[in-house]
Symmetry: C2
Subunit: 207 residues, 2 copies
């Protein structure tokens, strides 16, 4: 069964796709053009009644909310590809903790230039906590790569790319090394290569 | 081992406590007075470096982020007390989906009177989706009570109580019945009885 992922060019669907690649799960993508309002069509709303991205279809099973989707696949295919949940219930607990923290929340749901500027100081403080944590542990939730990092990839990419805030990462030695590590994973490089964001899209409507 | 839960009077720690009661897990509470800034003391920041609520200590294990905590206990004691995760991976996927959606996000992280007023229309639309979903299914994620509902309890209580927006719930037949159902669980009644919010606290600092 090939998994269908809707609207791969946006940040949150990329979280899902990098997970599918890490787990070695076959998928196909379905474009949804937010500029044309395709996320508000009756057909799309049948799949995702709130009109948000992403949504997946896996046979008869439909699921939305990117973090719910990545948890589902990490659990369904636990022993296939990269294990993204840790080995013990405590390790999983820490993965979940860092999956919830996600520093993009310091910037609100729809990061735009104005909000970013106002929130840069706040974000800096959150990254200081990351720095402290990463000085003691290779990854946030412990010594292993996990769901928590998949979830960080799209937003951090946006931060260092279009938002030109790479200095926030580079000023912090351990955060910088952590970003180099996770952003150089072949799965993430593949996602960036396959699904480029057309400039007209910006990040509107991405939850 | 008795679980220590910090600062039980606020909304997010209540999410944790109702979960511990549903699972039949012994706990004790540690007060943290936000008004006195006790969430910013060096001692508290050692437990929760971001200075947010809640945090738990379970022997040597410390965990924060209310949803990470409730997942941890739902999984650790899967066969004890109320099963909050569903029976299949697909059921769990839907629980996670509705745990992420959580309509309070329509109002921002710190609901205050001004934001609420501006967002009432937006919240109404989200509740319309809930109404649609609940017209087909007893609970949001399916026919069973789950983590997703625990997570809804504190915010909805705040909505129908101090915010005086009960009409948003009562105008919608299925949402209204769902709220009566989940808010009448003995575990939730016990939480409300045990941990009343002092008026001076309001909801500042609650994540």
């Amino acid at each position: 069964m090939v998994v269908k992922v809707y609207s791969p060019v946006y940040a949150c669907p990329k979280r899902v796709i990098v997970c599918l690649i890490e787990k070695g799960i076959e998928f196909e993508t379905v474009p949804v053009d937010l500029v044309k309002g395709e996320h508000k069509t009756p057909e799309y709303l049948k799949l995702q009644p709130f009109g948000f991205l992403p949504v997946i279809q896996d046979g008869d099973f439909t699921l939305y909310e990117s973090r719910a989707i990545i948890r589902y696949y990490a659990e369904k295919y636990k022993s296939q590809g990269t294990d993204l949940l840790g080995n013990t219930i405590e390790e999983r607990g820490l993965v979940e903790q860092w999956l919830e923290i996600l520093f993009s929340s310091a910037l609100g749901l729809l990061p735009d230039e104005k909000i970013i500027k106002e929130s840069e100081e706040k974000l800096g403080k959150v990254l200081d906590m990351y720095e402290e944590r990463l000085s003691k542990s290779k990854y946030l939730a412990g010594g292993f790569f996990s769901l928590a990092y998949l979830s960080h990839l799209p937003f951090t990419q946006y931060l260092v790319g279009p938002m030109q805030k790479e200095h926030l990462i580079r000023e912090r030695k351990h955060v910088s090394a952590w970003w180099d590590d996770i952003s150089n994973r072949p799965s993430w490089k593949k996602v960036l290569e396959l699904y480029k964001v057309p400039p007209k899209f910006k990040y509107a409507g991405v939850q």
